[in-house]
Amino acid sequence: MFSKRKMPFSLLGAYTLLYLAILYIPVLFLPMFSFNDSIYTAFPLQGFTLQWYQEMANNSAMLKALQNSIKLGVVVAIISTILGTMAAKAFTSYRIGYATPLKGFIAVPLVIPLIILGISLLVVFSRMGVPLSLFTIGVSHIVICVPFSMLVMISRLEGFDNGLEEAAQDLGESPWMTFWLVTFPLALPGIVASLLLCFTISFDEFLLSFFLSGDQQTLPVYIWTQLRFPAKLPNVLALGSCILLASVVVVVLAEWVRRIGVAPAENGADKT
């Protein structure tokens, strides 16, 4: 468009590549040292080993924490996505007064320091005599996942033709069947993406889990307890590498699914 007088591509492009490199390199040290045959994360590298991964696979406390995190993530993802989808549907299909402040209220968990949310919930649960457990962590995770789910679903449902639903109803379908036959299939990629993102958020979340966990640890809380012992470090690195890999797979999957059937907007804009 402005090919005559634009900044050379290479400068901005090189900067962006450098930016990406700086984003990735620190994180990539974790997998690198996880194969290193030494308990210290130091150069020079000592040699290749899978010992830390083997130890990890036999660590029952860690496997228990992993199990907890997966259970929690699945439940949180399902509930948050149901709530987020309903809220998104409310905003995109119906005219609601005060839509902007209401949306803003739902988005508050995105901008509140998590430590404040964590201790507030801790205070309420302890005053009500609710014992700390996966349930208490789950409540806090749903609070922070619903806004994400809602935003994903709004971007999916926006521009979605309400005429399709009206047509189905005019043709005599009940509201429930209309939902099943029309709305749900169209929203499905968004729903899957929301499930995956909410699962990832819950699975990786540390601060809220730290304040609200009782005897049942989640994986990040378990990692936190291990970080104190230098001898446990290689195990943490191995575990961390597996988590990184799994997160990457899930996020790429979520992004890919979310875009199925979304017509590319003009000049490739994707409103995320």
């Binding site: 468009m1 007088r5 900044m7 591509f9 901005l12 492009g13 900067y15 962006t16 930016y19 990406l20 984003l23 990735y24 620190p26 994180v27 040290f29 974790l30 210290y40 994360t41 130091a42 150069f43 020079p44 709530l83 309903m86 809220a87 409310a90 905003f91 299909s93 119906y94 005219r95 609601i96 209401l102 209220f105 968990p109 901008v111 320091p113 430590i115 404040i116 949310l117 201790i119 507030s120 309420v124 749903i142 609070v143 809602m150 993102l197 990832t200 990786d204 540390f206 730290f210 990040p220 961390g240 988590i243 990184l244 996020v251 875009r259 000049n267 490739g268 994707d270 409103k271 995320t272």
Partner: protein
Amino acid sequence: MTYKTAPDTDNTSNDRLRKGWFRASRDTRRGLILLSPTMILLLLALALPIMVLIMLSFWTQTGMQPEPDFTTANYRAFFDRPIFAALLINSIENSALVAALTVILAYPAAYFVAFRVKRRKIIWLILITLPFWTSYLLRIFAWKVILGFNGVINSGLISIAFIDEPLTFLLNNRQAVIITLAHAWAAFAILPIYVSLEKIDRSLLEAAADLGESPFWRFMRVTLPLSLPGVIAAALLVFIPTVGDYVAPLLVGGNNGLMIGNLVQTQFGRGNNWPMGAAISVISMLTITGIVCGFLLLVYQLKKRLA
């Protein structure tokens, strides 16, 4: 939907009007029904807890349990101890620097993806946001591995015989916290900036070019002002949550890099003074809100003056 009083002649238009109104209100009701579970959840698990926290901050604790009271003693105690306020100011400075750093560093990358990349933007976007979705704890921890006494930088420099002894100024200070947080939140800043740049109507830029603006002034007068909402959103999305961060100060900050979140945690943990912890949280929340409002007001004023 029967409308009994409507006679078949003169009231039809009125009838239609009422039906229209009825339909609109039915729509609103359906929308509100869909919205209500989320609202109830957030009222119970977000609004109510924060109210309780505020209430608790006026209570006292002498023994093991907080006791109902209505005293400002906790607030006075906060201001009586300069170290508390200093910690809050430190945290705010850290987060402001982190926000500025992330926004400034993210802007050119967002600009590149929005304006220079023509095809497969999505791949760039996924690449940029991917690290954000991987474990926060591990991203912070990675910096401990890098900056630590036996870390990547020290052992690397020693093994090439550039230094003899590990550098100790890398870890356990504020700079380490700022670098770590800026890295951990980078992806959060780039998205809002990218979206606002992408939304800019390209014909405005063409118009500016046709009117003879140089690329630099085209950027200053068109692109930058129009992308400002994204920049502001990005700055706030990074600033607000990082003020309360607890992990980075503990892992890479050492004693010199502690932040207000660590103080709050201590009051709820070892310190076992929940009302005091609540008061510190409330003060922090109010301060953050004040700063954010002030910042937005400033931006608004600036905009009005420029317009």
